[in-house]
């Protein structure tokens, strides 16, 4: 099965690193994975995106066309990408950063990802890793063990513990959201 994931927000949120970590975790699980990203003017400020494809078979076309899983971490990204999601796909929205999500955009999960990051680590800079925890809990893309291993290996030296805390906080928030149908539409 081929699953397409698009992580979008603004430049500086660390979404490309999140994409690399997700792809590496998928590789640890024995899957094929490709990570691509947008370069150029849109990589700084404005809408920025990282994309990951995970598959059991060799991946032919490496670009995402219609994501099954979409993370929206800015208003600009929401405007640009909300409607690209595959029908029935999962849309995870940082509800602290995005106010309005088009109602036709898949199954929407509104979770205050950045707030969760600040609560867990005291910093918004780990929001990308908290988002990974949320995305993976919602979409079940990779094993939690592989995800933790990839996070620990890829984040800057000395920050593994904080980032793992952010990851777990994101996972917990998503599970809670699922069990209480927390703001789920």
């Amino acid at each position: 099965m081929r699953r397409e994931i698009r992580l979008s927000g603004y430049g500086g949120q660390g979404l490309i690193l999140a994409g690399i970590i997700l792809a590496e975790a998928a590789m640890h699980d024995g899957h094929e994975a490709v990570q691509t990203q947008s370069y150029g003017p849109e990589a700084r400020g404005g809408a920025s995106k990282a994309e990951v494809i995970i598959s059991d078979e060799p991946i032919d076309y490496p670009k995402v066309t219609a994501p099954d899983v979409l993370l929206l971490m800015s208003e600009a990204a929401c405007k640009r990408y909300a409607c690209t999601v595959e029908p029935g796909g999962a849309v995870i929205v940082d509800s602290g950063l995005v106010e309005n999500v088009p109602s036709n955009a898949g199954v929407v999960y509104k979770i205050p990802v950045t707030d969760i990051s600040v609560e867990a680590t005291g910093r918004a800079i780990t929001a990308n890793i908290a988002a990974l925890g949320v995305v993976n809990s919602v979409a079940k893309l990779v094993s939690p063990e592989s995800l933790e291993r990839a996070v620990a290996a890829r984040v800057p030296r000395g920050t593994a513990e904080a980032n793992l805390n952010a990851l777990r906080a994101g996972m917990a928030a998503a599970q809670e959201a699922g069990s209480r149908a927390f703001q789920r539409e």
Binding site: I20, A23, M27, E32, Q35, Q37, D60, Y61
Partner: protein, 380 residues
Amino acid sequence: MAGKCDVRARLLQGNESCAEAALLAGVRFFAGYPITPSSEIAEILSARLPQLGGKFIQMEDEIASMAAVIGASLAGMKAMTATSGPGFSLKQENLGFASFTEVPCVIVNVQRTGPSTGLPTSPGQGDLMQARWGTHGDHPVVALYPSSVAETFDLTVKAVNIAETLRVPVILLMDEVVAHMRERVIVPCADEIEIAWRPRPTVAPSDYLPYDAGPDGVPAMADFGTGYRWHVTGLYHDITGFPTSAPAKVDHLVRRLEGKIANHRRDITFTWDEHMDDAKVAVVACGIVARSARRAVRLARGKGIAAGVFQPKTIWPFPYEQIAEIAARVDRIIVPEMNMGQLIGEVQRAACGKCEVIGHFRVDGEPITPEEILARLEEV
């Protein structure tokens, strides 16, 4: 994880894969002038080469970079550079010198949309012909073209080996998409890959004739500084290395240079294909477009269309024989490429009217999608 080598899967970026493969193949000298979308190759090698006792130098421009690579190679090092279209244009003069004087080297060109400064961060495939004919005069070159990060690793090793064994500049053409994406690569151990070196002289320095080639057309090459003194010139030269304008010697040299590639054609032609056995329509594509073609053909097969895909990994020398054989048994060949039609010209030459050849050209800086190719496959 015991043992001298830890064979494992790694998630590598295309440019990272190229740099790591070059190191494994024995490259110990890099000179360059960093340029998007190839910059990571220089960045990584600037960190890694000194760790391995190699040399990295950022020169004042691409012309000087290419000259430094030639100098290092003449002194006995495996040497490479990396650039994009604008820099590749600047390197052409010295590339011709390397080709004519038979100095092994690898030139990576991560293509962008051209001409001129073009679109620095967007993919394009406009340098296929430049890789073959960018420098003046009849000259031998080899060009390889990967479609994935794993192929980048494999073809970089092959590029270094071919450069050494045939004493020829080898161009690794890459697409921006492949250069910047990350995929799994099984990184081999040093003792698991075949490493080649240029033939070196077995005679005494006093008996050394630097351009006296044996039957395979590749003369032995002595390292500068080892007591073998020889003359390297971009003028026509005889077996002593000194200039000549004697018609027979001039003719002999240009034909030997052409012949040394032709003689080794089979060893350096790499291709990939899928569903070609019973195909009635073939897609011929290279680089990232081969990945789109692969997907399109799989989708077409699902719709009952007898489609197949053929990917030349070696662009120069072009696999004319294989394309001719395909043209003889299919009704049509579709050639999608991110330029106004370069690969298609060679496909048409090979097909020689035996089947219809249709181009699909995209030049807006975006990659060709599988759906575009599928639409062409459905037009019958």
